[in-house]
């Protein structure tokens, strides 16, 4: 161990040559490392981070745009479906109306046909009844008249003419009271 007294003369204000030499070496070594290793690494890392952040932002933007598009698509589909439903409902309502009208019409025509049929039948029956009544009334009247007069009117011409005249009279009387007579035959 060297005693403290043995030392190089040093000044606090005047640099020694080794101080300057090693100081320069120290600065250059650190400067080289900073230029050669530190700053490239740092810049690379910061660039990578910026890219990552920018990429993330872009991705988020894309995702948002996609979501927006999907939303619009769904909204459009929904509106279309609503319109479709409305159209179908309208159609159904119109169809129902048409069907109802057709049914009513058919029912009316059926009823009319039934009524007409009934009328024809009634007319035919009335005609038949009238015809049979005429012969019956004729023979009854003749029978009655024969009994009253006491002789047979037989079947000569005169008797038949009398009957016809009577019946014609009867018919005219009948026509005058047609409605009541007809209602009577209907029963």
């Amino acid at each position: 161990m060297l005693p403290a007294a043995v030392r190089t003369e040093g000044s606090i204000l005047l640099p020694s040559i080794p101080d300057l030499v090693w100081g320069t070496i120290a600065f250059v070594v650190v400067l080289v490392v900073v230029i050669w290793k530190v700053l490239p690494s740092v810049n690379r890392a910061l660039d990578a981070r910026r890219d990552a952040i920018e990429g993330g932002l872009k991705k988020a933007e894309e995702a948002q745009a996609g979501a927006q598009q999907a939303l619009e698509h769904y909204n459009a589909q929904l509106a279309e479906a609503r319109a479709e439903a409305g159209r179908i409902r309208e159609q159904a309502r119109e169809d129902a109306k048409k069907i109802r009208a057709e049914l009513v019409e058919q029912a009316q025509s059926d009823a009319a046909r039934v009524v007409a049929n009934a009328q024809t039948q009634i007319e035919a029956e009335r005609a038949a009844a009238l015809a049979s009544l005429r012969t019956e009334v004729g023979s009854l009247a003749l029978g009655l008249a024969s009994t009253v007069i006491g002789e047979s009117l037989g079947d000569d011409k005169r008797s038949s003419a009398i009957v016809d005249r009577f019946l014609a009279d009867l018919e005219t009387a009948d026509a005058s009271a047609a409605s009541s007579g007809r209602a009577g035959t209907h029963r």
Binding site: M1, L2, A4, R7, P18, A26, V34
Partner: protein, 273 residues
């Protein structure tokens, strides 16, 4: 490691009687390698080169393989690097000029910080920036850098911009020019150099005084049966407090040196004075 600059050794040398305080000679121990050559290494310069090796390793390994998602260690290194990159260089010079002067200013900051910190590291306890040569070299580099920046930006007109201030009445313009010349081209490098060196020398003296006094009170006074040696507790506490202060000053002086360099470059680049 040369023992004569350690507090214990100094006190041991003076153990014959009274208290031996710290000396400026702590910064000038005898050479141990390459004696007589310009590459002579003494304890302080060995500590300087040791600090440089550690700094290089920290910077190199600490910035290798930075990931987009940082690990804990990377966050710490990113904080340090970004403090210089953004806080000192880019905030002062802007993105474009900042990129050009980043290596110099970053080197100044980290080298100064590393060399300052050896002042508080147990076993080393001497800041090699207390040797004026280191501060002088960096001040000259800062000086050359800002003059280069001014000339690159304005050509030879830079000196007119720097000295011939517009808006000053013509009669006193030469006086102002002289003052500007002194302040810009003489005072700046001198203050850069002295501020760093003297801060570190003073810091070392303060710490060495505290620990030497503690040593003296405990080993010499208290051991001889004198209870006055208990003062050593107070001086030890002061030593601890001043160690913390020195850590702060180590960072502060590195910051001041780097930010002043950045500001000088920025002033040289700008058109207005």
């Amino acid at each position: 490691m040369h023992a004569s600059s350690l507090p214990f050794a100094v006190t041991a040398d003076g153990s014959g009687g009274g208290f031996v305080g710290p000396s400026i000679d702590d910064f000038f121990p005898a050479g141990v390698l390459f004696q007589g050559t310009p590459f002579e290494l003494n304890r302080v310069l060995l500590i300087r080169m040791f600090a440089v090796v550690v700094l290089v390793l920290v910077l190199w390994l600490g910035t290798r393989n930075w990931k987009v998602m940082p690990t804990r260690g990377q966050v710490a290194m990113e904080f340090l690097i970004d403090f210089v990159r953004q806080g000192i260089v880019i905030d002062t010079l802007g993105e474009k000029a900042g990129k050009r002067f980043m290596p110099i200013i970053m080197t100044i900051f980290f080298l100064t910080l590393a060399l300052n910190l050896t002042g508080t590291i147990p076993g080393l306890q001497i800041p090699s920036t207390g040797l004026i040569g280191q501060a002088l070299i960096m001040a000259v580099i800062a000086y050359v850098t800002f003059i280069y920046a001014g000339i690159r930006a304005h050509g030879i007109r830079y000196f007119k911009i720097a000295l011939w201030i517009p808006g000053v009445p013509l009669p006193i313009k030469p006086v102002i020019a002289l003052l500007e010349f002194l302040s810009t081209f003489i005072i700046r490098p001198v203050t850069l150099t002295l501020r760093l060196t003297m801060n570190m020398v003073a810091g070392h003296m303060l710490l060495a005084l505290c620990f030497l006094a503690t040593n003296f009170f405990f080993i010499t006074v208290l051991a001889s049966g004198n209870l006055l040696g208990g003062i050593g507790i107070a001086s030890l506490l002061f030593g601890v407090v001043f160690t913390v202060l020195e850590l702060f000053i180590a960072a502060l002086q590195a910051y001041v040196f780097a930010i002043l360099t950045a500001i000088y470059v920025q002033m040289a680049l700008s058109d207005e004075h």
